[in-house]
């Protein structure tokens, strides 16, 4: 088993690594194998929860050891055996990036699971059990992806995460819209995953392995990174493959918080951070990433302005923030993208959970049914507002630092166009978050909001837990940078941070003016609302699916049934018809037979006479 230099056999891997990877796997297996346990509901949640807590503890220990020792350690065994040699590595790679990401994932997952205890408790026990089984499977897949030593295992985690997202989005499968949304999400990510598969093939052909740090020519690096980016566009919902993210809100809100805010959609960005050696040699791909990232950021931010469903606003906001990260990575600052990924994971999860708490209380996603919740749900309100401010980049909070890094990295590239777009997005982000805050928590109560009451402890504790990193993570940037081998110096004074901060505050102020006091009606949004109503991009996919794919399938099905199969039937039919024709020869009249005999005799005689 030829292990690359510095790689140790899988058995030698540290215990926490095993725990982080296999605890959720065992939980998922137990719940799958023992349907009785799963159907009882609550016990299933305890199994998953203990697994996640164990994984989080393991993640913490791994991060601590990583902080102490540093460096990159790989333990693996070959997954396939071809031509005598081991191909594809299965195992654990521990370095700054994977340890941090593991911790982020585990913390958010645990918070979401605790939140789900309260949020989902009125589900029937079998469904409750099934929900937590999926959660265990998801955590395993995400950890598999995060700790992957090479692209093959990362791809395995990637697809498994896609499958669990399909299962979780389609959790309320009784609702047709949920089923369709789950299908849409899976198909679009699967479409994009074709790129990932092709990247693996190109890599295997040129280097014989799937490792991203293998020596690769510039051309191969560009193709592989280009294909990988195509997969990232699908998974991290960049334009034009972003349409599945807003529909994914059909899933339960904790799922949206975990998958479609913090971890799954961030997997694409993590892939680019992880496979940086490949992307470093591919300037062309990075330029495309910069443009697509900034474009998506602006586009999604505009759409977020006019959403009436609170979860849809957050979904488009996630889409926009992912655009930020991709742009940062496109501009070459790996730590910028990664740091924003980490901070975004926390405050976006916080926002989603808080929104979940609101929805749980108000039993509706529509902003129109909320209002004045500040007094009735103080904790949820404050946590939501903190999250919103962090997202908007209000100085001092985590969002500010990471967004500042991204903006710094994009300065001056491509004639300031991406920078301008990202700046505009910063303003719009602050504005739509302000809109949500003021519509939901200020003004007079509408609909059920009148008699909403604060959620129970199990919902609030995760909110409080997540508020801490949303606020404090910014100050911890330096050690985090050191972890992933980058340098970071804190600079608060400078054109970019000042401009970003002022735009953030300005956005909030405008929102307060428009929605808080309700004095200034912004008619500019009307055309945007009409544009969004047309669901133009969605319709393109609808037409592509219904008109093109299904029609072609029916035509081919018809061809197979009639032409190819028809050919076979024709052969059978011609045999039968031939038989029927020959039958007429048997007239039953003895004389005709004698005639045939005489003809035969003459023929033979004549043939005998031939020279």
């Amino acid at each position: 088993m030829s292990l690359p230099v510095g790689a140790l056999p899988l058995e030698a891997a540290p215990i926490p690594a095993f725990v982080a990877l296999f605890a959720p796997a065992v939980a998922a297996l137990v719940l799958a194998a023992a349907p009785a346990l799963r159907r009882r509901g609550a016990p299933a949640s305890w199994v998953t929860l203990t697994a996640s807590l164990l994984a989080t503890a393991a993640a913490v220990t791994l991060l601590v050891t990583q902080l102490r020792e540093g460096g990159s350690h790989v333990w693996m065994a070959s997954w396939l055996q071809i031509n005598g040699a081991g191909v594809g590595d299965f195992g654990v790679r521990l370095d700054g990036v994977s340890a941090t990401m593991l911790l982020v994932v585990c913390v958010v997952a645990t918070c979401v699971q605790v939140f789900s205890l309260g949020y989902m408790h009125d589900e029937k026990p079998p469904a409750f059990g099934r929900y937590f089984a999926y959660h265990a499977l998801f955590l395993f897949s995400m950890n598999l992806l995060v700790l992957a030593p090479d692209l093959l295992q990362l791809f395995a985690g990637w697809e498994l995460v896609g499958a669990t997202s399909y299962l979780l989005i389609g959790f309320y499968y009784q609702k047709p819209s949920a089923g369709q949304a789950a299908l849409k999400a899976f198909w679009i990510t699967k479409l994009a995953d074709m790129g990932f598969l092709m990247a693996l093939m190109v890599l295997y052909k040129t280097t014989g392995t799937f490792r991203w740090d293998a020596a690769v020519t510039a051309a191969t690096a560009t193709t592989v990174s280009g294909l990988l980016f195509f997969a990232v566009v699908g998974k991290s919902a960049q334009f034009p493959l972003h349409i599945w993210l807003p529909d994914a809100m059909e899933g339960p809100t904790p799922v949206s918080a975990l998958l479609h805010a913090a971890t799954m959609v961030a997997a694409g960005v993590f892939l680019i951070v992880r496979a940086n050696p490949l992307f470093a040699h591919a300037p062309a791909t990075r330029d495309v990433m910069l443009l697509v990232g900034s474009g998506t950021a602006l586009f999604a931010a505009c759409l977020a302005l006019v959403q009436t469903d609170i979860k849809k606003v957050l979904a488009y906001s996630t889409c926009s923030q992912l655009g930020y990260m991709v742009a940062a990575l496109g501009a070459g600052s790996v730590f910028g993208g990664f740091f924003h990924l980490a901070t975004h994971a926390f405050f976006k999860a916080l926002l989603f959970l808080a929104a979940g708490s609101v929805i749980h209380a108000v039993h509706s996603n529509e902003l129109a049914d909320m209002g004045g919740l500040r007094r009735r749900m103080p904790v949820t309100a404050t946590t939501f507002i903190i999250g919103a401010m962090s997202l908007a980049g209000i100085p001092g909070l985590a969002g500010f630092f990471s967004k500042d890094l991204v903006l710094a990295s994009v300065e001056g590239r491509y004639g300031w166009v991406p920078f301008g777009a990202l700046m505009a997005t910063a303003f719009l982000t602050a504005f739509y978050m302000g809109r949500v805050v003021f519509l939901a928590f200020f003004g007079e109560a509408r609909g059920h909001a009148g008699h909403a009451h604060e959620s129970g402890g199990s919902l609030l504790v995760p909110l409080l837990v997540l508020t801490v990193p949303s606020v404090a993570l910014g100050w911890v940037a330096a050690p985090l940078a050191h972890l992933s081998g980058a340098t970071y110096e804190l600079h608060l004074v400078g054109v970019v941070p000042i401009l970003a901060a002022s735009l953030g505050l300005g956005g909030f102020a405008l929102a307060w003016v428009v929605y808080g006091r309700g004095t200034l009606v912004v008619s500019a949004l009307a055309p945007l609302e009409r544009l969004v109503a047309t669901r133009a991009v969605n319709r393109v996919y609808e037409v592509g699916y219904r008109r093109v794919l299904l029609v072609v399938a029916d035509v081919l099905g018809w061809i197979d049934r009639y032409l190819i199969d028809g050919l076979m039937n024709f052969l059978g039919w011609s045999a039968v018809a031939g038989g029927r024709a020959l039958r007429r020869v048997q007239t039953g009249n003895a004389q005709d037979y004698v005639f045939a005999v005489v003809l035969g005799a003459i023929a033979l005689a004549a043939w005998g006479l031939l020279p």
Partner: protein, 190 residues
């Protein structure tokens, strides 16, 4: 020279009567013409030096077969007068085929000039060899050969004749009375 003319006449008669056998509308005439043909053939046998065979021919064919045929005709006619119409099917097809067949055989005969082919010595036991050498195969030679080289065939032949007799009787005898009623019924209905 007279032999040639004689042969010509006999041949003509044979062919003419043969044609009449197959062409004559009345079946009884046909049978009688067959008799004429057979007698004429017997004469030919005589000319070809097979006197014993000529005798047998006349005895068996003319005597036995023709009379049998007459019986056959009588038993199967439908009580409406002696002359039994012998409906003939599509004549052209038959004539054409017969002509072609004759043409082919004639061509074969013409091509292989039979006259000069060497006399192939017939392998047989020496005693027979001597007798066979004489150009005229006398009845004695036939009889001797019959009971020496071809004795097996002779015995099998007797077996065959026995089988034929029994077969003919089994086929032609009246089944049960059922067949009788069936005829009765047809008579009643016709």
């Amino acid at each position: 020279m007279t032999v040639a003319i004689g042969f010509g006449v006999v041949a003509a008669i044979a062919l003419l009567s043969a044609i009449l056998v197959v062409r004559s509308p009345n079946l009884v005439h046909a049978v009688l013409w067959l008799g004429v043909t057979l007698i004429d053939t017997a004469v030919l046998y005589g000319m070809l030096g097979a006197s014993f065979l000529a005798g047998v021919q006349v005895l068996l064919y003319v005597g036995g077969v023709v009379t049998l045929m007459v019986f056959g005709v009588m038993l199967t006619r439908r009580h409406d007068g002696l002359s039994v119409p012998a409906a003939s099917g599509s004549p052209w097809r038959g004539a054409l085929t017969a002509a072609v067949l004759f043409g082919v055989i004639a061509a074969a005969v013409m091509r292989s000039d039979l006259e000069h082919a060497p006399v192939a010595p017939t392998a047989g036991p020496p005693a027979v060899e001597a007798l066979a050498a004489s150009s005229q195969a006398t009845t004695q030679a036939i009889g001797f050969e019959l009971l020496s080289t071809h004795v097996l065939a002779f015995e099998v032949l007797s077996l065959l004749l026995l089988a034929a007799i029994i077969g003919a009787v089994v086929i032609a005898r009246r089944r049960d009375h059922g067949a009788l009623d069936q005829n009765a019924r047809t008579e009643a209905s016709s």
